[in-house]
C-alpha cells in the first residue's frame, strides 16, 4: 500500500534516527570493549588539570578568576581527544566503506557519530568536573544545574563541527595534528561564551546576566549542527 508523502517523510526520519542510534550503539560498544581510549582521555584530562595547578600562583591571582579558563581549556582538549578517534574506528578493515555501501543515509552516519562523540566527551567531562572542583576548591554546588546546561551547550558546539572535521582528516596526512589545527579557530566563539557564562555563574551572578552569551552558544549550535549535517555527505562521498 503506497505511503502518502507525510508518512514517507515520517518513515524517512524514523529510519535515519534508528540507523543513527545503531551506529552510536556500535561505537559505544567498541569503546567499552577496548576501554583504552576512554581511560587515556580521562587520565590526560586529570593530568592537564594537575599541570594547571603548577602553573598558577595563588598569592597573585585568585583561583576563582582563573577557574573558568582552566575548566574550558581542559574541556577543549578532552573534546579534541574524543574527536580524533571518531572516524579512526572505521578505518580498520575499511568499515567506513561498508557503511557507505549500505543503504543508510549519510545523515544517519553523521548523527550516529555525533551522538557517540557526545557521550564519549560527556564521560570525560563527568570525571573532569569533580576533579576540577576538588583541585581548585570551586564552589559549584549552588550553580550546578545552570553550569551543566552551559557545558552541554558548548560541548554540542564543539562536537558538531568536530565530527564533521574528523571525517575529513582521516584521509589527510598527519590526521591527529590536522584536526586541532582546523578545529581550534572554530572553538573560539563557543569557548568565549562558555567561559563568560561560567565566570558569571561562579561569581554568584544570576544566569540572566550571561543571557547574551547563552544566545550566542545556542545560535552557534544550531548554525553548525545544520551546516555540518548538510556538508557531511561531501566529506565521505566521492
Amino acid at each position: 500500500m503506497p505511503l502518502g508523502r507525510g508518512e514517507r517523510g515520517g518513515r524517512l526520519v524514523g529510519d535515519t534516527l534508528r540507523h543513527a542510534w545503531t551506529i552510536a550503539r556500535k561505537d559505544l560498544l567498541l569503546e567499552f570493549r577496548t576501554r583504552t581510549a576512554v581511560l587515556s582521555a580521562v587520565v590526560f584530562t586529570a593530568l592537564v588539570l594537575t599541570v594547571f595547578n603548577f602553573g598558577r600562583d595563588p598569592t597573585a591571582v585568585a583561583t576563582i578568576d582563573l577557574a573558568p579558563s582552566i575548566l574550558w581549556v581542559t574541556f577543549s582538549f578532552a573534546a579534541i581527544l574524543a574527536l580524533n578517534r571518531a572516524f579512526q574506528l572505521e578505518l580498520e578493515n575499511e568499515a567506513l566503506e561498508g557503511l557507505l555501501v549500505s543503504p543508510i543515509s549519510r545523515t544517519s552516519l553523521y548523527l550516529g557519530k555525533l551522538v557517540a562523540n557526545l557521550m564519549f566527551v560527556a564521560v570525560v567531562e563527568c570525571v573532569a568536573l569533580p576533579l576540577f572542583v576538588l583541585f581548585f576548591d570551586v564552589p559549584i554546588w549552588p550553580v550546578l544545574a545552570p553550569l551543566v546546561a552551559v557545558i552541554a551547550l558548548a560541548t554540542v558546539g564543539f562536537v558538531a563541527v568536530g565530527t564533521l572535521f574528523s571525517a575529513m582528516v582521516i584521509r589527510t596526512r598527519f590526521a591527529e595534528l590536522m584536526l586541532p589545527v582546523l578545529l581550534l579557530p572554530f572553538f573560539i566563539p563557543p569557548l568565549t561564551g562558555a567561559v563568560q557564562a561560567t565566570a558569571r555563574l561562579l561569581d554568584g551572578r544570576p544566569l540572566s546576566e550571561a543571557a547574551g552569551w547563552l544566545r550566542l552558544l545556542a545560535a552557534y549550535d544550531v548554525a553548525f549542527l545544520v551546516l555540518a549535517t548538510l556538508l557531511f555527505p561531501h566529506t565521505v562521498d566521492e
Partner: protein, 234 residues
Amino acid sequence: MLRADGLRHAFGHVMALDDISFSLAPGRTLVIFGPNGAGKTTLLKVLAGLIRPQAGCATVAGGRGAIGWIGHQSHLYGHLTVTENLLFWAALYDVPAERRRARAAEVMRRLAIADQADRRVWALSRGLAQRAAIAKALMHDPQVLLLDEPFTGLDLAAAGEVRALLAQLRGAGRVVVLATHNIDEGIELATDVAFQRRGRFVHFAPRGAHESAEIAEAYRRAVGAGGAGGTAGG
C-alpha cells in the same frame, strides 16, 4: 536488474572508466577480467553507489539495500564478535529485528563458521575472516552481489570453497558481478565475460559454449602479453 550507461570517470589524468555500458538480467553472472589499474574496482564502486561517475549513470534495481559487497576488506569490526558484527550490519540493512538472530545463525551455518560465532574478528584467520565477510554480505539476502577480487590472499582450498559458494548463490535470480585479475579463477562461474583494459571493455559477450581455456587465451591476446594475470596471482 543492473544497468550501466555510458559510464565515464577519471582520476586526474587516468581514465578509470571510459564509456562503459552494459546491462544484466537476473540470473546472469558477469566476470570482469583485467590487469591492475584497468578500472575494475572503480566500476564496482560506481555500481555500488560509492562513486558518482563524472558522466553516465548506473542503476541497480532495489538500490543499495539490494547489494551485497565483498571486497578485499572485510568491513568487520575487529573487537566485536562475528555475531555482533552480523547483527550490526543486518540492522543497517533493515533486516527485521525479530529475524536477525535466526538469519545470522543460518548464514553462519551455510558458511561453516557457526563455531566462530562468539569469537572476536581480530582472532580469526584470513580464510575465516573472509567467510565472515561473505556472511555479512549475505545477511540481508541481496539480489545483487558485487565481488572485488574475492580470491586475493586465499589459499587454494579456501578459494575453491568461495567458488563453490558463489556457484550456489548464482541461482534464485541473483545478479553477480565479479572482478578479478586472475583469468584462471572464476571463469567457470561466468555466464557473461568482459575484459577490461584502461577503463574500456575490450570484450563483452555472453560466454556461450566456449571452453575456459579458449577464453583464457582470448584474454591474453586481448589484453596483451605483459604478463597479464596468469599464475602469479594469489
